[in-house]
Subunit: 189 residues, 2 copies
Amino acid sequence: MRPFFIHLDFTTGNLSPHDRTNIRKLSDMKGTFLDTKEELRILEKDDPVIYSFSEKVLPEENGHLQLATTFIRPGKIGDEYFMTKGHYHGRPDTSEAYLGLEGEGTLLMQTEKGDFEAFAIRLGVVAYIPPYWGHRMVNTGNTPFAFFAVYPGDAGHNYGDIERTGFVKILVERDGKPILIDNPRWKKG
Amino acid sequence: MRPFFIHLDFTTGNLSPHDRTNIRKLSDMKGTFLDTKEELRILEKDDPVIYSFSEKVLPEENGHLQLATTFIRPGKIGDEYFMTKGHYHGRPDTSEAYLGLEGEGTLLMQTEKGDFEAFAIRLGVVAYIPPYWGHRMVNTGNTPFAFFAVYPGDAGHNYGDIERTGFVKILVERDGKPILIDNPRWKKG
């Protein structure tokens, strides 16, 4: 394989060129938001895009890295902000580094035992997610939220465990501000 | 290990906080520049800093990542621009991703067999250096050149092979402009 370069736009988060863009609509995340009635009510008439991510296709092999930019739209389901599905890594002992670009968000992280951390992510913030920490990004602003991610080539994605347990805490709007509340549906892994 | 975050200044390249800054002076790179007579002449009266890099100290283990910013001063030894020593990875089948920040530079890459690539690196350029490609950064501008690097935790550094073989091509100034010329001292690995 030969070296290559791409451009990362710090304002929009656009990665150009990239090989693949994946779209996550509300119907792809059924049951993820706490207010399932509101989720269903919206899905009866619409299927909004919640987030998308653009990737370079690289070998899913140990020693390689993966490069991707994720864009989360602004919005809420009930009072819970738009967010990514969240995942552990398929190879759970692998890390990830995030770089905040456009907009404002919060990174939620947890272990299967229920240890929890949350960081505000803005332009220029680099977050390091160590091995065994599941991670989800939340758009807490009124504009698109974009961030760049680098992770090991063989990390893979485990969405199933988060689908099963949920996150320890969720981010909701109260009096116009984001606050973290305990997730009543959280199940220890 | 718990998650952490740091700030990356897109203008200066500063990574704050970081754990360690390593300084490379001309005396640390003896024999690296083509004009060894000029190298010695400068070292008789001075020992200029050529570059430095600031790192987060992270486990040197498979699954982790390493994060660092490198700053190359502007300048030349003879007509050859200031640059990093350059290295392969100690674990040669590992990649690296660079993100250009302040200033203007060129990334030189080569395999042990002598395949060669060079990319201009500016703010927002992400370069992917695949497994087995040695890499060196060169400051071709009149201001400091800074870039951010992410690489696998267990990649390690092999400086010895570049010290022994040199680079296939070197970057020199001709009529005020950077040009790549064949390195007369290059030895196939």
